[in-house]
């Protein structure tokens, strides 16, 4: 039995916040889950995918976040509780569906998990998605710990169902990827039957219906306001003439700060879990006898604005502060020291921040494409053919690491799918070759529309689809074009080649980038086709070796080594290829030499194709590479 499906009976487990959300959803009788993976939300759909069959839940890796929200809302409109999860920027993709789903609403509970990423641990920005709840007018809950994440997921489902509107569960990296004790609740016994009741004048949003639903939404918001005012998720702790208003992970830093600054009896804390609609009366009553209030929250002054508005409307003479110099920073994550600094400064109590030692000057350790990664081989060949003169728009995935030296094969990136569309724009204004990169999963996610646009407007660029047969960066999730699955090799459900041909691409080719000469010949040919307007496409197809090894348990038969007698130390292998298995080393005789670390070498053979001094070396029944 999957750990997350075990019966309650007071069972306590150390769970990742994301696992706690899954448990809460199972306890809340969710039967339909859809998501596109994205850090820090990926483990939610990964766990659902693992337990779906056993739990009687439908779970799918949708093609993108908008699609995931749409399929999940159809279930919820048919009376089946549903959940979709995404990283913060995923809600930008899903925003079109989201804004009007708020109008149409749902019949069964629907939770939209949105995982923000303050400090951009694995993201391109750190937008504060709480504003989406306000913009759409949907309720929002914000947990602080895995235990709260479990409980609030169940509560969000109930709330959504009661008011007929989807509910946002907004998390941050330090909730999703925090592990803490979670007490299991009871599991539901049976799944409800799905029923769709035709009701076009409430479910088909033409303007006259939209107008009616707009008013209905405002009415729902009034009721939700009342629900927020009476919610046990908003509570006060401690007592004093000063106050702190907080939510999410910030609440934990505040608790430590109150203790460390010895503010017990002087500061009371309002912890908000139901943050939209924010509980105006609760905030007003909290502040009614306070001299000053500090709002402690990560990212933008969302709660601070709520507190200021409430104080102004109630005519309270309380001093309100939040973001500002010497107070709560607006950028990046908070921590206990930052919050102690802000609180000690605002409440004017003594605090000596810890002395922070400076680390000595150290070599950096950036993340890198793995040994044997086919993306490296593709970049190598494209650079040989197009050089530094070409402009290289790129996209989001492992291959974005190609931005780092020595490859330096990324010139522009803003979001998923932007590689293709921006390539078209660049090609219209620049007199330089434009070569765009996009991964297979990202192509299905949001690259296809850009390709169609480019073809229909005679944009002149080469699109290189880096097809490694999986969504590698987020943990090897499937996508529509996969051939390699845990169950074996399959015919792709959606063929990348056929989609590209179907979009109207005239010059397209598929290569295995690990065959260097052949790849470069094809690239030369495609470069010639670029004399005419139009989009050419190269599918650079070779499976992610990490994924392939995991699934097939392939063992290396050969690794590569440098023949030190013929190596002239030209360093091109290091500077052009940059494979982490290589090192600039010293031989037993004390001479400088280049070595290949046998344990790291995947045996891909790309290096041996570009240098005569690199030769194969048979290995015995050793372990497979790249475990």
């Amino acid at each position: 039995m999957h750990e997350l499906l075990m019966p309650g009976n007071g069972r306590r487990r150390l769970l990742l916040g994301n696992e706690a959300i899954v448990r809460g959803a199972v306890e809340g009788n969710v039967r339909f889950v859809a998501a596109y993976p994205g850090t820090p939300s990926s483990e939610i759909i990964d766990r659902f995918s693992q337990l779906a069959l056993e739990a009687g839940i439908y779970a799918e890796y949708s093609v993108n976040e908008k699609v995931s929200m749409e399929v999940a809302c159809a279930a919820a409109v048919s009376g089946v509780r549903s959940l979709c999860s995404m990283k913060h920027v995923g809600l930008n993709v899903a925003a079109d569906a989201f804004m009007t789903l708020a109008y149409v609403g749902v019949k069964a509970g629907m939770v939209i998990v949105v995982a923000d990423d303050p400090f951009l641990h694995s993201s391109q920005n750190e937008q504060d998605n709480r504003y989406y709840a306000k913009m759409a007018g949907v309720p929002m809950l914000e947990p602080s710990t895995p235990e709260e994440a479990r409980a609030m997921t169940t509560e969000a489902l109930d709330l959504s169902e009661e008011y007929g509107i989807p509910c946002i569960l907004r998390t941050t990296t330090r909730v999703n990827h925090c592990r803490g004790p979670v007490t299991f609740g009871d599991l539901p016994s049976k799944a409800p039957a799905a029923v769709f009741k035709k009701d076009p004048f409430n479910l088909v949003v033409v303007p006259m219906v939209g107008r009616k639903l707009r008013l209905a939404l405002l009415d729902k918001l009034k009721k939700l306001q009342d629900a927020s005012e009476h919610s046990s998720l908003n509570f006060t702790e401690g007592s004093g003439k000063w106050g702190v208003v907080t939510s999410g992970a910030s609440y934990l830093f505040v608790k430590d700060s109150v203790r460390d600054l010895e503010l017990e009896g002087r500061v009371k804390v309002l912890k908000l879990g139901f943050t939209f609609p924010y509980p105006k009366a609760v905030i007003r009553d909290f502040m009614s006898d306070l001299e000053k209030v500090l709002v402690v929250e990560e990212l933008d002054p969302f709660l601070e604005e709520a507190v200021r508005i409430t104080a102004q409307e109630a005519g309270l003479p309380v001093l309100v502060a939040g973001k500002g110099d010497d107070l709560v920073p607006r950028a990046f994550e908070l921590d206990a020291v930052k919050v102690k600094k802000a609180m000690s400064s605002f409440f004017q109590v003594d605090y000596e921040p810890p002395e922070v030692f400076t680390a000595p000057q150290l070599p950096s350790r950036p993340p890198n494409l793995c040994p044997g990664c086919p993306h490296r081989a593709t970049y190598y060949s494209v650079k040989k053919v197009f050089g530094d003169e070409a402009v290289y728009p790129t996209d989001i995935g492992c291959y974005t690491l190609g931005v780092l030296p020595p490859l330096r094969m990324a010139d522009f990136l803003i979001c998923m799918g932007s590689g293709v569309s921006t390539a078209g724009g660049f090609s219209k204004v620049l007199d330089q070759p434009v070569v765009a990169f996009i991964g297979d999963s990202t192509f299905f996610h949001s690259g296809i529309t850009g390709l169609i646009n480019g073809i229909s407007h005679d944009h002149r660029f080469l699109l290189v689809v880096l097809d490694n047969g999986t969504t590698a960066m987020t943990g090897h999730q499937p996508h529509p074009g996969i051939e390699l699955t845990p169950e074996g090799k399959i015919e792709p459900k959606v063929s990348l080649e056929k989609v590209i041909a179907g979009c109207g691409v005239k010059h397209a080719a598929t290569v295995n980038p690990l065959q260097v000469k052949k790849t470069q010949d094809v690239l030369q040919e495609l470069r010639r086709t670029m004399k005419e307007p139009g989009v050419s496409v190269l599918i650079s197809k070779s499976p992610c070796p990490l994924y392939e090894n995991r699934l097939l348990g392939k063992r290396r038969k050969v690794v590569f080594e440098v023949d030190e007698s013929s190596c002239d130390l030209c360093k091109r292998c290091l500077e052009d290829l940059g494979c982490p298995a290589f090192s600039w080393s010293t031989s037993a005789a004390g001479d400088t030499c280049i070595r290949i670390n046998e344990a790291l070498c995947s045996g891909c053979s790309v290096c041996a194709q570009i240098c005569k001094s690199i030769r194969p070396k048979k290995i015995g029944e050793g372990k497979g590479g790249n475990e």
Partner: protein, 204 residues
């Protein structure tokens, strides 16, 4: 009740290492053992971009503390699975911090390609030693090899941490955490690696 348990308030343990070294598993085991012991515990980890050969950092806080992350200057123990990363984690330390560091380097790519030089291990750990209360150096490769597999170096490090007795967790709870979390086929070698580290930690 031991003296450690009577005086125990809270402990913030910062883990640092390189992708593939098993730091997250070690982090999880500390959390599970603390939970087994009935101590309040919270952990934090970073997934995703960090794991392509980059630095992997995580934390465990045990006892009367809520923040799951550790601010600069607030780590009571630093468990460094690689000496360069021990030095890089110096800003997390305070003057009373105990640093347990592996002495086995994992050469970063920037060094391998000749863009930078790997400092002498003694310089790295010397820089740490000059600032903090104590540094325990662990030859994880040798000890793990003795236990049966170099891949069990993470369990050696965990054993040393357990052996120091800084965390009021009984041997029984450690054993139970290991039994529950580790896959069956690596139980034995990992237990041996843990015991090797534990013995070293006790002796110090």
């Amino acid at each position: 009740m031991t003296q450690a348990e009577q005086t125990f308030q809270a402990l913030r343990i910062f883990f640092t290492g390189v992708g593939g070294q098993g730091t997250l598993l070690a982090t999880r085991l500390v959390g599970e053992a603390a939970l087994e012991e009935g101590l309040p515990v919270a952990m934090s980890e970073i997934h995703g971009m960090a794991q392509r050969g980059g630095v992997v950092e995580s934390s465990v806080v045990v006892g009367n503390v809520c923040s799951p992350t550790i601010a600069d200057g607030e780590a009571d123990i630093v468990l460094a699975f690689e000496p360069l990363e021990a030095a890089r984690a110096l800003p997390k330390c305070h003057s009373k911090t105990l640093v347990i560091s592996s002495t086995v380097p994992v050469v970063p790519f920037t060094v391998a390609t000749g863009q930078a030089e790997y400092p002498a291990i003694e310089d790295l750990l010397g820089a740490v030693r000059s600032r903090v209360a104590s540094v325990i150096e662990v030859d994880t490769a040798a000890l793990a090899r003795d236990a049966g597999s170099e891949r069990a170096a993470n369990l050696v490090m965990l054993g040393v941490l357990a052996g120091t007795g800084r965390l009021p967790v009984s041997m029984k709870s450690w054993q139970e955490a290991l039994r529950r979390i580790l896959p069956e086929r690596v139980q034995e070698v990992n237990r041996r690696a843990f015991q090797t580290g534990y013995t070293l930690g006790r002796e110090l």
